[in-house]
Amino acid sequence: MIWRIVLFLWLAAGMIAGFLWAPVVPVLGATTRVFYFHFPAALVTTLGFGWSMVHSALYLVRRDLRHDDQAAGAAELGLLFCVVATISGSMWARAMWGAYWNWDPRETSIFFLFLIYAAYLALRAAVDGDERRARLAAVYSCVAFVAVPFLIFVVPRIYFSLHPDPLFGTRGKPDIDPRIMLVATWMFAGVTALFFWLLSLRVRLGRIERARHDA
């Protein structure tokens, strides 16, 4: 219980610091604050899909349904954070570019990711039987993760994008104010903890549902 309160206070402190302590980037103005939600959500999306792939591979090796619970939960939460990143990015795009959606390479990439993992959930819903569903979903999750590094890291660097550059400049050093970097890192840590807490709830729920179904 106590660490849930700590997590709440941690995220609240990050938001307050983002609004009151960290400076704004001159070009971006007040929209800089979107960064403290968008950046952690985008990274945790990648983390969720990666976690899903790792546990899918573990399921295929060990045939333990606990790994399937982890894989399914991580993919669902990854999709949730993907939606958060997309919405926060669209709000920022509306303020800076004048439209919510511009088919920028990064917008297109995250839309493709959304479709890929929505299909994962559709596959899980369409297959009967715990073992069969877990095996097919694990295979799909492993194949789907092949697209993640291409869509997140490769495509936005190949095509011209209006999206602000990544945090690190050409010399491998942060290009932004250290206070902004600190708040972004703080929020990333908090959102990552939030992800694992929600994942633990989802995994427990999955086990309870299976136990009830088996009874």
């Binding site: 890929i116 929505a118 095996r135 097919l136 295979v139 194949v143 789907a144 291409f150 095509y159």
Partner: protein, 54 residues
Amino acid sequence: MSLPILLPVLAGAVSGTRGQWNGVPVDAELRLLAAYAAALLGMSLLLYDHLWED
């Protein structure tokens, strides 16, 4: 189900074709498609037995 996974291939192919028509170098698209194909092929080889069970 595999269609979303092929979306990057479709997007790269469309972009490359458009670049070719416009006389723009398409090296980046070709590298992207080759790397994606190699990654998918490798993963498919690893996973084939698990699908074959079905």
